[in-house]
Symmetry: C2
Subunit: 359 residues, 2 copies
């Protein structure tokens, strides 16, 4: 087990990487919670892991309740949050009670938002079961639900009390979902850590084979980076934005294709290549960067360009302009200068973006 600490004063917490879900009760006992725990999960993840989680929590003295939410991004909604609230109300949850998010990004964001807002905030424990959630969405406190007209448009910054990552859960993860998480792993390399990037170039096959030593090293390194950035800039006023590398184009691409054609990581992969191309065309980065990034993404089974759809530039632009990163109408890009170093640029000419998207 590796322990990564997120330092946010009285709201500090630990990320435990490489633990066993069947021991979560022991670790939650140390958090001085009340006696009631609501596990939020989906049917598939629940079938695999509730048999580990529930007995552990019960043995540690917790009363355990469950809210099962159907699988899929469209259930990251106010309606699903209302289901969680209703279960908590019905079972007399109080401010010392806890919600455990057992699942991937959808469950983590949704259950996190419910925990952030029920009674103005109750305890939250993240038990991420996907690579994406383990390296990214479960850490740092971004929680939320989608509106019919806007993904992640309603949410909060709300830190968990504990992040509990069992790497064994990745063995039941479909390959496409694993690649989805790898995109964010590679993002950390380009945005912040040239060593991580080189390490991935050398060890990508072991990563894909789920070699435990390599995985623990990679995942805990990603968590360290995120923890450090979040500790310096919890509410994304400046530094934290560097973790959005690849996300400006990625989010627009997801929106334009109605979140159906691309998984988040796939869209981010294409977005990272796009951002590199923009950086090169603005002479901020050397062209060798594009080749290295494309090679690593391809080995990670991720797409490097848009295929099979014809993009309409006006529609794409509309999605770019609705991004949460837009300020005063300026589209914000995170552009790489080299591997491990990025810069926030609000002044990319529209012609440059257009040329890259719809040449």
């Amino acid at each position: 087990m590796k322990i990564v600490k997120v330092d946010l004063k009285e709201r500090s917490y630990k990320i435990l990487v490489g633990v066993d879900l069947s021991e979560i009760g022991n670790h939650m006992r140390d958090l001085n919670l009340g006696g009631k725990v609501m596990i939020v999960t989906n049917p598939r993840v629940g079938r695999f892991y509730l048999p580990k989680l529930e007995p552990s929590l019960k043995t540690s003295g917790f009363s355990v309740f469950k809210t099962i939410i159907a699988d899929g991004e469209r259930y990251k909604s106010q309606e699903s949050a209302n289901k969680i609230y209703a279960q908590c109300l019905k079972n007399n949850f109080d401010r010392k009670s806890a919600i455990v998010a057992l699942g991937g990004g959808v469950i983590g964001d949704l259950a996190g938002f419910a925990a952030a807002t029920f009674m103005r905030g109750i305890n939250l424990v993240q038990a991420p079961t996907t690579l994406l959630a383990q390296v990214d969405s479960s850490v740092g406190g971004k929680v939320g639900v989608n509106l019919p007209d806007g993904k992640n448009m309603v949410g909060a910054f709300y830190q968990p009390r504990l992040v509990y990552a069992d790497l064994q859960t990745l063995r039941t993860l479909p390959a496409k979902e694993f690649a989805n998480g790898l995109a964010e792993v590679i993002k950390y390399g380009v945005s912040y850590d040239a060593c991580l990037f080189s390490y991935l170039e050398k060890n990508i096959e072991q990563v894909k084979k789920l070699d435990e030593t390599v995985l623990q090293k990679v995942i805990s390194r990603c968590c360290e980076i995120k923890a450090k950035v979040v500790a310096l800039d919890e509410r994304e006023k400046n530094l934290r934005a560097i973790l959005n590398f690849g996300h400006t184009l990625g989010h627009a691409l997801e929106g334009l294709t109605h979140y159906k054609k691309y998984k988040h990581g796939e869209a981010v992969a294409i977005g990272m290549v796009g951002a590199v191309k923009i950086a090169i065309s603005l002479q901020l980065a050397d062209s060798s960067l594009e080749a290295r990034l494309k090679e690593l993404l391809t080995k990670a089974c991720l797409p490097i360009r848009i295929k099979g759809i014809k993009l309409s530039w006006p529609s794409f632009l509309r999605f770019l302009q609705h991004d949460k990163k837009v300020l005063a109408g300026n589209i914000r890009f995170v552009l790489p200068l080299a591997v491990g170093k990025v810069k926030i640029v609000d002044t990319v000419p529209l012609a440059v973006i257009k040329n890259m998207v719809a040449p």
Copy 2:
């Protein structure tokens, strides 16, 4: 004008008491906001004060948008929050944009919750137009909406950037609404400030006549107390709970009567008398306290006992047990020891409560 500062480090803000709504633009210009402002109000308040607010904001260079929410507690809902989100989305609001809550507690809580959660939080300015909102709900960051099964059950702690209290707005406030706010004013006296209580005993007639000097003194003193308590305990882990004096019984009474028979302040008034009686029966307080409190409440046109309904103790108990202040099944009371001094007690015997409610 009196300035009260709420000291919460990087989230500190000022409460301006005794300002003119037609000058709000000047004060908001200092906050380094983006160019867009959404005013949230109800039809009645909007009719009176939008003609002051809008030109001021426009003159200061803001683009002004409006969301009008129907009047009444039942519109403090997710549906109303969704209306605000939709207006913000439609008008391309970004993270530097602001929401101005122009109205009483319902508008402040609702617009505050929308600001807290839209894009994970945008700027919020409170422009309270009722006494209750000016002394209590607009200060301290409690925001939220009601669930069909629970008042204020969904919410957040989210601080405004500015509280802007124009005392002239109290001139258009119905007398019943004014008394509603006086209950919270009197609460500050009993909970925290014996001088304020004595001052009220001496000056209650001038208060009711809206004497500006007296009002400014009283309202800014209430804000000072709340600011101090919130600065020490923003998220109500301990100290802040003293501001709930009268609210344990008050909330249950409101719930039991479906929020129809009593205004919040009226229920709190009855709840304060109940809490005093409990304190006396537990020999924590002297019986003279009851007489002083009842006299002041009566002069303030507030009820001091339940009238015209027969309470069912089992139903009342159920509401007591659903209060957000309940921890591990213990009903939490704030009990007075003397004027200006209260104590949090989790161990009031049920028989004592029952005897007081349904003797």
